[in-house]
């Protein structure tokens, strides 16, 4: 019975809770028990809020018993990436510099989840300040991929993705600055969505790169992701970049797509994202997915986006530049740790000692790259040129979307790599974001949906679907149709292939 609850979809759980077949407290307890059993092996959670979760679940049960109208995900447990503030619950951003910090306010995403009756189980592990592609940059130890615990779960939102694949939560929230929702989704066989920039409020999201950061839904099915998307999205006056427009109809699109008909949908295959550096099994999985889209009635054409080859270098100038400015707020004065304040040292010395002790190597590297790229004499050649590349990438998207409805590519060039393999080679690590970055730079919507397992290593592969800004529903329709066809072809959902975690009873 308990195993049944942790394997159910969010939509199923919400329905069973709403018609009082099972209580929200039982559902929460089943997931808390599962976390207790497996998280020692996975390390997806930095903090588990047992009491808060059970209280929230109890409230939903009381509301339902009283006949109150509850939302479509009321009572469903969710794991929240530790980059979003939670009033009274620790928020570390995976960094030592915020160890022990208890935020005095909720992020808008957190508030919306609570108002919709979702049950927040805890905070998930991540690369420090969301800088990384493997969750190895967390100051609190790496998260392990439930498909193979010697491998990375992707990053920066490895905790949010691994929690889904380990059946610790049916839903989670990630944030995506260069692929931090989609790449972990791909390597853990789960669904990850980066909404259109401005679609989900950034209020209370600890800033890494403000012009790129975007929170979004993570789930095991496309419909679950859509249901969560509609809960967290929408205009927020607390975020000056929030888009004041209706939320795209993503749930309706996911339901429409599940009918399995993509007639009239034009799909563009990005020609830049294949070839050297791509694992052959990933490309074969991608080609099989494209063939299935054709079978569903989609018209598939190849589309060239030549500037996408320059997205990676542009991103690794723009994101560090913005980070070097954003992270200046960690000055050891108002929050976070303070090191070396012995009564003789100056504020500046204490600040430097605190930042040295509180930040990990990747954060330091990016702060210094950003400081360099923004300094006079180098600004035009680096940051200025990167901003021009950003223009070219938007133009390539505009040209592509003039002829196709969505673009597709592999989500990331390889399957999950072994823990430790790329930690001493920053450029090799950065290449995991090769295919995901263009959508961050242009601000349009993009998602990853599992496309089965790579035939050479048996590890999950992700299909990336990209849509124009505010057309998020287009990719949901395609993803939902593909998901049905994929499961029919494979005989079971991809996620059902996750091996039993060592030493843990299913």
């Amino acid at each position: 019975m308990t195993a049944d609850l942790t394997r159910a979809t969010a939509a199923e759980l919400a329905a069973r809770i709403a018609n009082r077949e099972v209580s929200a407290v039982e559902v929460a307890q089943a997931h808390l028990d599962r976390i207790g059993e497996v998280d020692g092996a996975v390390n997806a959670f930095l903090h588990v809020d047992t009491e808060g979760a059970l209280n929230a679940a109890r409230k939903v049960d009381e509301d339902i018993a009283a006949g109150a109208h509850v939302g479509p995900l009321a009572g469903v447990p969710i794991a929240l990436k530790d980059v979003l503030t939670t009033e009274g619950v620790p928020t570390t951003v995976g960094s030592k510099i915020l160890e022990g910090w208890i935020p005095p306010y909720d992020a808008t995403v957190t508030r919306r989840l609570k108002e919709a009756g979702l049950v927040i189980l805890g905070k998930t592990n991540m690369d420090e300040f969301a800088m990384g592609s493997s969750t190895e940059n967390s100051a609190y130890g790496p998260t392990r991929n439930p498909w193979d615990t010697d491998r990375i779960p992707g990053g920066s939102g490895g905790g949010s993705a691994a929690a889904l694949a380990a059946f610790e939560a049916p839903l989670s929230i990630g944030t995506d600055t260069g692929g931090s929702i989609r790449q972990p989704g791909a390597v853990t066989g789960t669904v990850g969505v980066k909404p259109t920039y401005g679609g989900v409020s950034r209020y209370g999201l600890v800033a890494f790169s403000s012009s790129l950061d975007q929170a979004g839904p993570c789930a095991r099915t496309v419909l679950d992701a859509a249901l969560l998307h509609e809960v967290i999205a929408g205009y927020d006056p607390m975020d000056s970049t929030s888009i004041d427009a209706p939320v795209p109809p993503v749930v309706a699109a996911a339901r429409e797509g599940a009918n399995g008909d993509l007639s009239g949908v034009r799909v563009g295959v990005v020609t830049q994202f294949s070839g050297e550096g791509y694992q052959p099994g990933v490309l074969r999985s991608f080609e099989a997915a494209v063939a299935q889209l054709k079978q569903l009635g989609a018209e598939v054409v190849e589309v060239s986006c030549p500037s996408f080859d320059y997205a990676l270098p542009a991103y690794y100038l723009i994101a560090p530049s913005e980070a070097s400015s954003n992270l200046a707020r960690f000055d050891a004065m108002r929050y976070g740790i303070r090191v070396g304040d012995d009564g003789t040292r100056s504020a500046e010395e204490v600040m430097s000692l605190t930042r040295e002790a509180g930040f990990g190597p990747e954060v330091k590297r990016r702060i210094m790259i950003g400081t360099y790229a923004l300094s006079s004499g180098y600004y035009d050649a680096y940051y200025g040129s990167a901003q021009k590349v950003r223009t070219l990438i938007s133009r390539d998207f505009d040209a592509a979307f003039a002829t196709v409805d969505v673009l597709v590519s592999p989500t990331t060039p390889t399957t999950a790599f072994p823990i430790g393999e790329r930690t001493n080679d920053p450029m090799a690590m950065y290449k995991a974001d090769l295919c995901t970055i263009p959508a961050n730079l242009a601000g349009n919507a993009a998602m990853s949906v599992p496309s089965g397992l790579s035939d050479e290593d048996g590890l999950p592969v992700g299909l990336q679907i990209m849509a124009p800004a505010l057309q998020d529903h287009r990719m949901y329709r395609v993803a939902a149709a593909y998901e049905v066809a994929r499961d029919a072809a494979l005989g079971a959902p991809v996620i059902s292939g996750v091996p039993q975690l060592a030493g843990v009873a299913r």
Binding site: T241, P313, I367, T371, K388, V389, M427
Partner: protein, 99 residues
């Protein structure tokens, strides 16, 4: 092709208020050089006629109603401070001994 020296990295660390160690300088100098050489390729296509994009969504100034709203109280604001005194943030000295 750019090249960044150990001294330049030390200068960057000072600008960024990072009290890096000698070992870190050795490590970061090599890594930053590789990264900067790689990202410098943006110059290959960034010609003078292309306008820069700072933001995916056109930014306009956003105003809110000029009304009083609830905000953090003093205790809440100070709750996360590394040191507080008399209801204020306590900070190390900001001026030098001889200033």
């Amino acid at each position: 092709m750019p090249s960044i020296s150990r001294d330049e990295v030390a200068h960057l660390a000072r600008l960024a208020r990072l009290a890096v160690t000698d070992d870190e300088l050795d490590l970061f100098a090599g890594q930053l050089d590789v990264i900067l050489q790689s990202v410098a390729t943006v110059g290959d296509i960034a010609t003078a006629d292309i306008p820069p994009t700072s933001h995916a969504v056109p930014l306009t100034n956003v105003f809110r109603e000029d009304v009083v709203r609830p905000s953090l109280g003093q205790q809440q604001a100070l709750a996360g401070a590394p040191a507080a005194e008399d209801g204020r943030f306590r900070v190390p000295r900001i001026l030098g001994e001889e200033a």
